[in-house]
Amino acid sequence: MKLLNPGDVIDGFEIEACLHAGGMAHIYTVQYALSEDGTRRQSEFPMAMKIPRMTAGDGAENIVSFEVEQQILPAITGSHVPRFVAAGDLSRLPYLVMEYVKASTLETWAENFHKETFQTGLQDRALARLGAELAHAVHSLHKQNVCHLDLKPANVLIRPSGKVVLLDFGLSCHAHYPDLLAEEMRKAVGSPAWIAPEQVVGVRGDPRSDIFAIGVMLYELATGELPFGEPVTTGGMRQRLWMDPVPPRKRNPNVPEWLQEVILKCLHPEAVKRYPSAAHLAMDLSNPDQIRMTERGKQVVGTGFNEHFKRWIKAAGMHYQPSPLPSRLIKEVPILMVALPHADVSDATWYSLREAVDRSLGIRPGARLACVTVISPNDTSSTESHKSESSVHRVHLARMQQWSQGLDLQDHQVSFHVLEASDVAHALVTYAEGNEVSMIIMGAATHGLQMQRFVSTVPIKVAMDAPCTVILVKQDVPFEFLGTLNDE
């Protein structure tokens, strides 16, 4: 399609300006065209029109990927994707009109980030915040049964607020739709630098492929280099089926161990050894101090030849396998949250909560646990040293860690969080929403015992407002056993 001029009208949309004339598509800002009575419908947000360049020289994949995006964009909602407005008939006049998100791409963000890094050293916390926002955006897609499968800096927008918007669903896969890009030959579809190993052998629809791509982006932000370069051959792309990237700390000694741990976990060649969901990744990036460290976080020498050779043999047999439903897959590894009362409560309450959490974790291998307690802002003080925020928090963290001692946490990651808020229920619900929590476990009537008169309202408010299942635990310990429990 030839370039359009400002003022041209297409199906009720008037072209304003050309934003981008790329190899695949032209993108314009548009507004609603003047109607016959001379009025103009106002849009609630700025709009952009994307028109594919389907000329004779363009490949079939360009056309199909436009069709894929036309199918998927209207089906996804939320603040992490541009809002869909309209689509043109593919056989007549293909176009997509969507929200024009005024934000910079991760490409631009990365340039500034690298400049600052050069001057002030690596801003690891800023990087972690960006990574967490990116993971939240990706998780919102996975919950809607969509895998992006072409995540790269050019397709990631960062709003001034720091929130992330994902673009370009031309290579994406919707588990409830026939996948037009799958084919019997099982070819790799994606961008070579960011594509996950399983995508190389034709797997489309594993949400952990997107986690790999996030890992590639974090790696590049942390070191300034791509972990696997930009291969141009299939053989080059297959390298990542067995090869570990050079440890980020070898390329940039300023990369902290926790960040390397996170990045290399995202980049594991086997999908099952990566983060099981983007929500888990976001949780780690939001709590760098509580990341479960392994040797991989510390290493500064790359994986040796022998290990790589063994994996190369194994990778030769790696082949296509169908993917389970993304929403089902991420539901299998939920984030559970237990709300622990912060005041002294009876042993029976502690015991009952621990029992309930143990049972819930026991049937969900891979689930992670967030232990949360809400304290009043009055409990801390900036003037009295024994009530300083950090020392008060330390006391509560220690109490929660003590509580968790009796849990079997072999297959589960756990983290501890002290929230300061006067409205306990609201704080718990907000935390659950912000961290993709799938289940809240809390005491039925004992939560916040010192507020006897109000106690029942906290669990009920949480149960009503929570975005997920809430389990209210009642004390179920026979009193004659209480003495023995303390001895354990």
């Binding site: 079939a60 994949e61 199909v64 069709e67 199918q71 593919l90 056989s91 409830h176 739709y177 026939p178 996948d179 037009l180 890009l181 799958a182 084919e183 019997e184 030959m185």
Partner: protein
């Protein structure tokens, strides 16, 4: 135009009524019955009467193997599957038999071909149960009828066979209630499942709605009174197995 696609009713009146009520609530414009109105089930007369009424209102109806068998019951084949044909034959009146006998094997609406089994030799009742079978079906539909889209029954499963970037049909299992993009410029074959005898271990009746303008097909599952349908089978003195399988969807 929104078309309700119902197949393999198998004389299950309760399931047919439930699906029709469900479809009416979705605002459909046209009915299509894809064969096997009778056989197995206990209410052949009522089901054929409904089909005759729908036909008068302009419904597309094609013949299935069980409809042909009810008109002319096989004498030599006494397998369980065919054992209800003689009974069904006796239940139906002359006009009902005449209606079934006169049904065409295919119906065509623009690029859309409706047929009970594969479009590849419809009178042979080939199952469309694999990518290969769907390829054959699609090729014959295009060559013989100039049809790019085929909707069939016979297999009692809800499946989409579609062509993406590759050269062969690929299989896709739809999720009930989710509109699946099936655009007019692509070639596809859909099997809409069975209204009266689901066999995927769920008792819910199956049918589909094709929204031509939107290029989307929604596969539906509808719960119905399968106990009443089973009771009708037992009351008619038909083999118990046909009653029992309804509750288990097998």
């Amino acid at each position: 135009m929104k078309i309700a696609l119902l197949s393999d009713v198998h004389a299950n009146l309760q399931a047919l009524q439930a699906c029709m009520a469900h479809a009416k609530a979705q605002g459909i414009d046209r009915w299509a019955l894809l064969g096997d109105l009778v056989g197995y089930g206990g209410n052949p007369q009522e089901v054929v009467d409904i089909a005759m009424r729908l036909a008068e209102e302009g419904a597309w109806i094609v013949q299935g193997n069980h409809d042909a068998m009810a008109v002319q019951p096989p004498i030599d084949d006494q397998s369980l599957g065919n054992s209800t044909a003689q009974w069904t034959h006796e239940q139906l009146g002359a006009s009902q038999r005449g209606f079934l006998k006169a049904l065409p094997l295919t119906a065509l609406s623009g690029p859309l071909l409706l047929v009970h089994a594969s479009a590849h030799a419809p009178e042979r009742w080939h199952y469309v149960d694999s990518e290969r079978a769907a390829d054959l079906c699609a090729d014959h539909a295009l060559q013989t009828y100039d049809a790019r889209h085929v909707v069939v029954g016979h297999v009692h499963q809800q499946t989409v066979y579609y062509r993406g970037t590759g050269h062969s049909m690929m299989r896709f299992e739809p999720t009930a209630g989710v509109p699946v993009p099936m655009p007019s410029h692509r070639r596809w074959v859909a099997t809409v499942g069975s209204v009266g005898q689901p066999r995927d271990h769920k008792p819910h009746a199956m049918y589909a709605i094709y929204d031509e303008a939107a290029g989307r097909m929604t596969f539906q599952r509808v719960s119905y009174d399968h106990q009443a349908a089973a009771a009708a089978i037992l009351e008619a003195g038909l083999p118990e197995f046909f009653a029992e399988r309804l509750a288990m969807g097998r």
